[in-house]
Symmetry: C2
Subunit: 283 residues, 2 copies
Amino acid sequence: MIDKDKVILIIGLGLIGGSYAKGLKKHGYMVYAISRGQKTIDYALENGIIDQGSIQEDTELIGQADFIIFGLYPHTMIDWIFRNQQYFKPGAVITDVCGVKCGVIDVVQEKLRKDVELIGSHPMAGKEVSGVEHSDDAIFHSANFIITPTKYNTERGISFIRDLANLLGFRHIAVLTPQQHDEMIGYVSQLTHAVAVSLMNANDNAYLKEYTGDSFRDLTRIAKINETLWCELFFLNKQNLVREIDDLIAELENLKQKIEDEDEDGIKQLFIQSTERRKQFDK
Amino acid sequence: MIDKDKVILIIGLGLIGGSYAKGLKKHGYMVYAISRGQKTIDYALENGIIDQGSIQEDTELIGQADFIIFGLYPHTMIDWIFRNQQYFKPGAVITDVCGVKCGVIDVVQEKLRKDVELIGSHPMAGKEVSGVEHSDDAIFHSANFIITPTKYNTERGISFIRDLANLLGFRHIAVLTPQQHDEMIGYVSQLTHAVAVSLMNANDNAYLKEYTGDSFRDLTRIAKINETLWCELFFLNKQNLVREIDDLIAELENLKQKIEDEDEDGIKQLFIQSTERRKQFDK
């Protein structure tokens, strides 16, 4: 377990950072935050989500933190770390919440001070809204948490992040390499977002809104997308995502050909396969 | 309103036929059913879902019905009608529940006895399970109902089907031509099923089940699909569906190109457009 006398600093108090803070405060930890926007800090202080906060990159706050959790977008986090790493407490353990690992973790780990440690992690949770006022640590309880250690990590760092995930109540904790993580995420998350966006964009469909059922709503829910964050994530995982889109297009072409040929056996085989595979994903 | 002394006959007492029966019985109507399988009929009689039932194509039951609702697959229904239309009561009004209209309604209307009337309709409701034991008229309450009249239909027929949909509590009733219906359904229903199936089939993904979040589950829920029914529906709407698949592939290629080019403005525009469009579909 993480000692109660340790100071945890959250950089970027948005939906995810705020949800971490709430979960940690419930367990009695000392939580500090640095975030843009006085309103965010005021709200978090007034609601007991944090103990101290600043809108400045306050070197004193930074220097007190035993653990730092970055709730920032990938490039913002990378820049932040290199701008402030001289203020980190020796021995500090840092983690992130980024949806892509290669291109983030490796860049930071290579140039990070050797007496502090970055351990990559990805809480696979979210909401369609943002901001600390929507934060809620209950979003973690049905979610997966992925840890992506590399040769730069120690047992101490890995066990901090494992304890953190357990404390916050994640449903399942998995360990992957950054490469495995990004391959997996290219398929289960980024491809699905690419599909939802393309489904909405393929057709000028406003007049159809009276006719849609749950299927269409389910498949396009995530087409409401934060363009800045997801643009970063897509570019950072370009190779994997492009390969997944190509595979999906090939599969759609395959299905289309069977429809055109009225290949009844062929189509039914595809339906039977998709049914069997999907059943394994039922909760 | 439909007169309470009218007899309503349901042919095919599955999930949808059974849900119609339950809804009609709640309003005190006389409901008969013809369905394969003695268990289905017994269950429906024991649970008060129908007043009379038969596993035979019982000419006496058929001849008493003022209204007939077909809960059968498209080709099964077409064959059934032509095998039994000589027994229909003069003036009977018939409807269906098929997810495709052209290729079903036109085929039947052309050769149907002139003293009875088929009015096409599509209750856009369902569940991932089948059979009368899962039937539940509550599935209609959040669903759309589409009526597809043609030159063969009368005010009397249209008003029967409108009354039926109101009685069953559908959220929204719309009138479209069979062609408009099939174009719309090619996009909002069939394309989404084609996508869900292809997402599951594009990748041998069993090992990923610990890593999926709600997005992936939402986009693939309908990949569990009845292969016999959906094969019929896809073939009956081949032209529309193939065009929709082509449009989606073009949109995915467009997105992919922008990812490869790291065209930040281009990608963000796609995300902003999909977000705006999807917001209009929020309930």
